[in-house]
């Protein structure tokens, strides 16, 4: 379970997250929506410790992410993350991209790591592309490669930061399909997304962020048809 | 800790001479750069637009300048030409060597600069009714100049540093003069230390001047 208590985040004097309280249960799929600059990405970075926080706590399965003694690299193995820009490692083949972290972070043998990598690549539909370099893959394929790379660490949670925003429209579908498949397999997911269809159909709950505050959270039906907050209604009216 | 006594007085006494020599250094470097820019530009244009033996000669120039030591180039203008009965003065050896070298390096910079300005710029200018000459001088060259400005500054610094090779062909620019005094007084370390400082100051002044000039030149 991911527990977030009274989380505050500043960039210099810029107050980006203003006291977030949020729990995500095992098996849940949470979509996070909101305007650009509302702090959605920052929330994800704080959850896996890529950004320090100034106040409050993030607790993952009982471990405080930002506490002094926490082995952050160990903890991050539980938290897979996929970014808007897919960041595949250009000097490694698809298989090597996925096998690298299991090998050097988890200390798996080379053969074992490659076995896991091949399996995850097949899982996301890239079984044919094992020996191919990222430069020869489409954006959608590279994003699925990034998903496989995160999955190969056998994470308990997956954090998606606008995984489809940088893709050409015709490639969005295949990545959403992969994410939907993960959700159906029971993966716990936090998805920052602009894909309202995905948020509505796949998530258990939807959170709306507005200027660093979580304005509203609830089941998709509530957010999309019966939003309580004026800001939420305005935002949804604009994206549709 | 040292049983060596530093003597700075003789150096200080010859400081005026050293500064004169520093001026000579700057002079030969600037001259070589001016010639180098003109010739380098020609070399770049020849390599881009011409065919046949002229282009081949230009390529030879550029590749020889870039792929052999500067000292070799100086030696060539020194002893090498002697084989043909052509004996240059030390000043001319250094000037010729530096010019040869700078022109070669600058030619490649210019070529990169021209390649970086998209063809569409030329076509857009022509479509506005400019002549080819106008399009080149008003539109293309200013953009190229901006791109090569920084490399030209660097090359200017190199020219100053390279002119120190004059010491090895008997030219009494800053380094040659320093060696002359040093060998007369045996205060080698002191003389060369002061000279190092002078070079450092010259280089910094060039970089500062270049930066100041850039803020006035490039307002966009």
């Amino acid at each position: 379970m991911i527990e977030i208590h009274d989380l505050h985040k500043y960039f210099g004097t810029l107050h980006v997250l203003k006291g977030i309280d949020l729990n995500v249960e095992k098996g849940e799929v949470l979509s996070v929506i909101g305007a650009s600059g509302s702090g959605k990405s920052t929330l994800l970075y704080c959850i896996n410790g890529l950004e320090p926080v100034q106040q409050g706590r993030v607790v993952v399965d009982g471990t405080d992410v930002h506490a002094k003694g926490t082995d952050i690299n160990k903890l991050r193995q539980r938290l897979g993350m996929v970014f808007q820009q897919w960041n595949s490692f250009p000097h490694l083949t698809a298989l090597e991209n996925v096998a690298l972290a299991p090998k050097i972070v988890k200390g798996k043998s080379k053969a074992e790591a490659r076995e896991i990598a091949a399996q995850q690549l097949r899982h996301v539909g890239l079984g044919e592309k094992l020996a191919v370099y990222p430069s020869a893959l489409s954006g959608g394929q590279q994003q699925r490669l990034a998903i496989a790379r995160a999955l190969a660490m056998e994470p308990e949670y997956m954090l998606f930061d606008e995984a489809t925003s940088a893709l050409d429209p015709e490639l969005v579908g295949e990545v959403l399909e992969t994410m939907r498949m993960l959700a159906e397999e029971g993966m716990t997911m936090i998805c920052v997304t602009h894909e309202m269809g995905f948020a509505r159909d796949v998530s258990d709950r939807v959170a709306f962020f507005h200027q660093g505050v979580m304005e509203e959270i609830g089941p998709p039906e509530q957010i999309f048809s019966n939003a309580q907050s004026e800001h939420t209604r305005k935002f949804l009216a604009n994206v549709r | 800790m040292f049983d060596y006594n530093f003597h700075w007085r003789p150096v200080m006494k010859s400081l005026p001479d050293l500064l004169d020599a520093a001026f000579l250094t700057l002079q030969v470097a600037v001259l070589a750069m001016v010639l180098g820019i003109i010739i380098g530009l020609c070399l770049a244009l020849i390599r881009m637009h011409m065919k046949g033996p002229i282009r081949w000669l230009a390529s030879c120039w550029v590749e020889l300048a870039r792929n052999t030591p500067a000292l070799f180039q100086l030696f060539f203008f020194g002893f090498g030409l002697g084989a043909f009965g052509l004996h240059l003065s030390p000043y001319m050896i250094v000037l010729a060597g530096l010019t040869f070298n700078c022109a070669g390096y600058l030619a490649e910079n210019f070529r990169g600069g021209f390649n970086a300005v998209p063809d569409t710029q030329l076509r857009a200018s022509r479509s506005l009714g400019m002549t080819a000459w106008q399009a080149y001088t008003r539109i293309v060259i200013p953009q190229v100049f901006r791109i090569v400005y920084h490399p030209i500054t660097n090359q200017m610094v190199w020219a100053v540093l390279m002119s120190s090779l004059g010491m090895l062909v008997g030219f009494r620019e800053l380094s040659g003069e320093t060696q002359f005094f040093a060998s007369r007084t045996f205060r080698i370390f002191e003389y060369f230390a002061v000279t190092a400082v002078i070079y450092y100051v010259i280089v910094k002044l060039i970089l500062i001047a270049s930066r100041l000039l850039a803020t006035r030149l490039f307002r966009y």
């Binding site: 970075y45 890529l50 690299n73 160990k74 991050r76 193995q77 897979g80 993350m81 970014f83 820009q85 960041n87 490692f89 250009p90 000097h91 690298l100 972290a101 050097i104 972070v105 988890k106 990034a146 790379r149 995160a150 660490m153 | 800790m1 040292f2 060596y4 590749e63 020889l64 870039r66 792929n67 052999t68 030591p69 500067a70 000292l71 070799f72 030696f75 060539f76 002893f79 090498g80 002697g82 043909f84 009965g85 610094v157 540093l161 390279m162 120190s164 090779l165 010491m167 090895l168 380094s175 320093t178 370390f189 060369f192 230390a193 000279t195 190092a196 070079y199 450092y200 280089v203 910094k204």
Partner: protein, 220 residues
């Protein structure tokens, strides 16, 4: 020029051997300095990138000095400074020390550029997989950044190889010094300089062409 002076013998096959050995010395001092200097330079580049204030205030200006003073002055200074602090270094060792630091000062900038070439999102992705800082550096930043600046590094290395000719000023008989000696004896400047130049060219030209072609290939 005067054939009557019998003291000057012509160019003999033995002299070719002499030049060959000198060329090997050029290679040896270059390879040594470039190897150690690159390792040091990468370390300095990393320090500069991480920008810990103290390191930046000390390392950066010191490296800058080695880029702003002519190499030949550095060589003479160090060679004459070493005995003052009780080090007795022969010309070769002095040359290696200075060429190494000189290389490091140039490579530091290249290396910093390489690290900068790997942008934050890429490094975040690596860290999000649980890689430590060092694993990220070793498996992600080094291969990607190294590739980005490899051509620039080749340029630096070839520059140092050519600049190693300056160690001759300390009396180390590398290729150009050997040429000079032979020229004095045989009075065949053109032939001997051509041989020496050809050696440098044959080393530098193919390597720089190869680096340029890699750059083009990787740019795509």
């Amino acid at each position: 020029m005067e054939p009557t002076i019998s003291f000057f013998s012509g160019f003999t096959p033995n002299d070719l051997l002499f030049l060959g050995e000198a060329a090997l010395r050029t290679l040896w001092i270059s390879v040594l300095s470039i190897t150690i200097g690159t390792a040091l330079g990468v370390l300095f580049g990393w320090v500069l990138y991480e920008g810990k204030l103290a390191a930046t205030l000390t390392v950066a200006p010191v490296l800058d000095i080695f880029r702003s003073v002519p190499l030949i002055i550095q060589l003479v200074l160090f060679y004459n400074f070493a005995p003052i602090v009780g080090l007795n270094l022969d010309p070769f060792a002095s040359g290696v020390v200075i060429l190494t630091i000189y290389t490091a000062s140039l490579v530091a900038n290249v290396a910093r550029g390489g690290i900068e070439a790997v942008e934050t999102p890429m490094r975040r992705a690596a860290r999000s997989l649980g890689m430590t800082y060092w694993q990220d550096l070793r498996y992600v930043v080094f291969p990607i950044g190294g590739r980005a600046v490899f051509p620039a590094w080749v340029g630096v290395a070839l520059g140092v190889m050519k600049d190693s000719a300056l160690v001759s000023v300390l009396g180390y008989v590398e290729l150009l010094k050997a040429s000079q000696i032979l020229i004095t004896r045989t009075q065949e400047p053109f032939l001997i300089l051509t041989i020496a130049g050809a050696f440098y060219f044959a080393l530098s030209y193919p390597i720089s062409r190869y680096a340029a072609s890699l750059e083009r290939k990787w740019a795509q």
